[in-house]
Point group: C2
Chain length 408, copies 2
C-alpha cells in the first residue's frame, strides 16, 4: 500500500489562478513520487475576511449559523478550483466539502469541535488513485447544519485527517518557510529551526507566532501527528513539529524569542489580601467574555497587594470599565491601564533542566537599559512585559545573548 501524505495549503498559497496552478503542480510531483495525497485547502487569499465584511454590511451581529453557512463557501470555491487545476495538468482529483467527507462537529457555530470523521468516501477515492481535495475549516453537525472550526481551522482539518487516515505526516504550507528563532523581519540573523517540539510550538502559537493554529498543534501532540511547516513558494525543507526529546533537539536550551505588541496591561492597586478576591475579579472579567493573558500577583505587604494582568488591547476600554466596577465592590484601590506595552518571551523545553536561563534573559534586557514591568514564567517559557518602544531592541538583545543567530 502507498504511503499517505496530508497537505494543507493556506489562503496565500491559493490566492489567484496562477498560484493555484503552482500548488497543483506541487501536488502532482508528490503523486508521481508514489504517495497517496489528501489535500486540505483554505479560502482564496482573504476571502473569509471579505465575506465577514459583506455579512456585517447586512447585520452587524449575524446569526452564527448563517455566518458559518456563508463562510463555508470560501473553501468550497478553493477545492473546486484546485481540482480543476489538477485535471488541467492531466491527473484525476475529486473535491469534497466538510459535509461530504463526513467531518462531524458539535453545534458550536463559528468555533465547532470535530467529533468524528468518516473516512469511507476518502478511502474509496484514494483506491481509485485519485487525489482527494478537502475543504478546510468546515464541518457539519449530526443535523446537517454547516459549521466552521474557527480561525486557522484548516490546520485542524489537516491534522485531524492526518490522524484518522494514518498519514506519514502532515505538511502545512504557508507563505513562510518555517518556524524561526525570532521574527526574521526584526532579527536579521534569525535561523529557521529544523525541529520544534509540540509544547514549544504551542507556546509560540499563543505567543504570537502566526504559523500554526494552537488548537491544531494540541491535536497533533495528542495523536502524535508529525507536522512539516513549510512554504508553498519554495522547495526548501521547513520545520518539523514533533514530540520533544529527539537527540538533535536536546542541546538547545532556548528555542526562540517571540514578541507580541497587541497586549495592554491593567493593574489593580491595593487589593485586600483576603481569600477568594482573585477568583471574584477574574470570574467577573471572564463572564464579560474577556480573555485574560498573563496574570501577576506579588506577595502582599501590610495585608494589601497589587494584581496586574494583560489583555488584548482592542478590548482595553471594556476591560477597564469592568475592572473598575469590581475594584470598587471589593474595596480595592485605583485601577491603572497601559496600552503601550509589549511582551517579549523565550521558549524552549531545555530550560526545564537548565538553571539561570531567566537571569540570562533579564541581563540581556538590563544591558540595553530596558525596564521589566511584569514577569511570568511557565515550564518552558519566560515572558516579560516591557515598554512597547523597547520591543524590537529587546528581541535582538535576547536573541544575541542566547546565541540563537547564524548557522546552526
Amino acid at each position: 500500500m502507498k504511503e499517505l501524505i496530508v497537505q494543507k495549503y493556506g489562503g496565500s498559497s491559493v490566492a489567484d489562478p496562477k498560484r493555484i496552478m503552482g500548488v497543483a503542480r506541487r501536488i502532482i510531483e508528490y503523486k508521481k513520487r508514489g504517495f497517496d495525497l489528501v489535500v486540505v485547502v483554505s479560502a482564496l487569499g482573504n476571502t473569509t475576511d471579505e465575506l465577514i465584511k459583506l455579512a456585517k454590511k447586512i447585520n452587524k451581529e449575524p446569526p452564527e449559523r448563517e455566518l458559518d453557512m456563508l463562510l463555508a463557501t470560501g473553501e468550497q470555491v478553493s477545492i473546486a478550483l484546485l481540482a480543476m487545476a489538477i485535471h488541467k495538468l492531466g491527473m484525476e482529483a475529486i473535491s469534497f466539502t466538510g459535509a461530504q467527507v463526513g467531518i462531524i462537529t458539535d453545534r458550536t457555530h463559528t468555533k465547532a469541535r470535530i467529533l468524528k470523521i468518516d473516512t469511507r468516501r476518502i478511502n474509496e477515492e484514494l483506491k481509485k488513485d485519485r487525489i482527494v481535495i478537502v475543504a478546510g475549516f468546515q464541518g457539519i453537525t449530526e443535523d446537517e447544519d454547516i459549521t466552521t472550526l474557527g480561525r486557522g481551522g484548516s490546520d485542524l482539518t489537516a491534522v485531524a485527517l492526518a490522524k484518522v487516515l494514518k498519514a506519514k505526516y502532515c505538511e502545512i504550507y504557508s507563505d513562510v518557510e518555517g518556524i524561526y528563532t525570532a521574527d526574521p523581519s526584526i532579527v536579521k540573523d534569525a535561523v529557521k529551526l529544523n525541529y520544534i517540539s509540540y509544547d514549544e510550538m504551542l507556546e509560540m502559537a499563543s505567543l504570537g507566532a502566526q504559523v500554526m493554529q494552537a488548537r491544531s498543534v494540541e491535536v497533533a501532540k495528542k495523536f502524535n501527528v508529525i507536522i512539516h511547516a513549510r512554504s508553498s513558494f519554495s522547495n526548501k525543507v521547513g520545520t518539523i513539529i514533533c514530540e520533544g526529546g529527539k537527540k538533535d533537539m536536546e542541546d538547545v536550551i532556548v528555542r526562540a524569542v517571540t514578541l507580541t505588541k497587541d497586549e495592554a496591561k491593567i493593574t489593580i492597586c491595593d487589593v485586600p489580601d483576603k481569600p477568594g478576591l482573585a477568583a471574584k475579579i477574574f470570574g467577573s472579567i471572564s463572564q464579560a467574555g474577556i480573555n485574560v493573558d498573563m496574570i501577576v500577583q506579588n506577595t502582599s505587604r501590610n495585608r494589601i497587594t497589587d494584581i496586574s494582568f494583560t489583555i488584548h488591547k482592542d478590548i482595553l476600554n471594556k476591560a477597564l470599565r469592568i475592572t473598575r466596577q469590581i475594584s470598587k465592590k471589593i474595596g480595592a484601590g485605583e485601577v491603572f491601564a497601559d496600552s503601550n506595552v509589549a511582551r517579549v518571551s523565550i521558549v524552549g523545553v531545555g530550560m526545564r533542566s537548565h538553571p539561570g536561563v531567566a537571569a540570562k534573559m533579564f541581563e540581556a534586557l538590563a544591558s540595553k537599559n530596558i525596564n521589566i514591568e511584569m514577569i511570568s514564567t511557565s515550564d518552558i517559557s519566560i515572558s516579560c512585559i516591557i515598554k512597547k518602544r523597547h520591543g524590537i531592541l529587546a528581541v535582538r538583545a535576547i536573541h544575541e545573548k542566547f546565541g540563537l543567530g547564524g548557522k546552526r
Copy 2:
C-alpha cells in the same frame, strides 16, 4: 393551517446589501400578513458568470462535477445573507442548501433533473414559524455529489418546491414587472399581461422572453402550479401564469409579439428528394451537440428540394462546417448561411380557433415592405425569419396590427 407561498428572487433582486434588505422587508410583509414562506434565492447579481470566468482561467474545460461544486457556492452566499437580513429586521429565518433540504437530482452535472424533494426539514422549520430560505439552482445526487440545474434553474427549484409543499402559488421576482405584449423597450405602448397560459409562456420562453426558464414552466404546467411573475422593485401586480381557458383569457387571439436576434440561418440547396435524408442531416448535426431551432422544408420540385434551419449564431461556423460535410455526403448542392436574420413571432392560444391570423401577420410585414425568408407555425405560434435590420419595425407593425397596445 396557514397558507404557504413560495417566492423566488433572481440575481438582480439580491445584487447588493441594500437590495437584500429590500427583499427581506418584502418577505416580512408577507409573513405579517399571515402566510408561511419558503423563499428561493439565486446568486448575487452576476456571481455565476464571474465564477465561470474564474474557473476558465484555470481550466478551459473544467470537469463538470467540479464546476457544479464551484457554482453552488453562489446561491449559498445569497441564502446566508438573506437569512441575516431577516434576522436583522427581527424575524426568524433559516437557510438551507439544496443538499440540506433534500433536493435529490440525477447525476447530469450542470443540468441535473430533480428526482425528488424531501420536505421533512422544511416542514419542521415552518412549524417553528420560521421563514425558510432555500438555495436555488442546486441539488445533490444520492451519492451526495453537488449538482446544478442549468441556467434559470432557481425557477425550477421554486416551482418544484411549490408543488411538493402544496403552495397557494409561486411568485417569481425579477427586475421586470411581468410578461408584456412585446418588449417595452421596442414597443412604447406594450401592455403588461394580467394572465398568460403555460403553453403561451412556454412558446415565449423559447422565443426569447427571458422572464422564465422554459423547463420550470413545463413543470408548473405538469403540476398546475400557479406562477406570479413580478418585479421585486415595485408592489404592482405582475403576470399570472396558469392553465389556459379562463374566461378573461378567451377573447384574446394573439397574446404577444416576440423578437430574437441571436439566430442564424443555414440553407442546403438541391437536396435529393429521398426518404431518410432529413434524418441523416439533423442526426449528424445533433450528434455534434448543435441545437437546431426552426426547420423548414418545402415541397420538392424535380425531385430536389431546399432545406433551411436556424441555429444560435454563436455556433454558426461549427454548424456550417458540419452541414457542408453532410451535404457532400448525401449529394446535395451548395450550403448558404445568413447571420443577419431575426425571428419575429406571435403567440396566443386563441389562434387555434381563429382563421386568418397568419395572413394578418404577413399583411403587417408586407405593409412595411419587409420580406419573409422563412415561415414556421405551431399550434399557438407563428414565426417568420426576416432580415435583422427589420426586426424592430416588424414587431411594432405586428403589435399595432393586432391592436395589442394601450389599456387592456
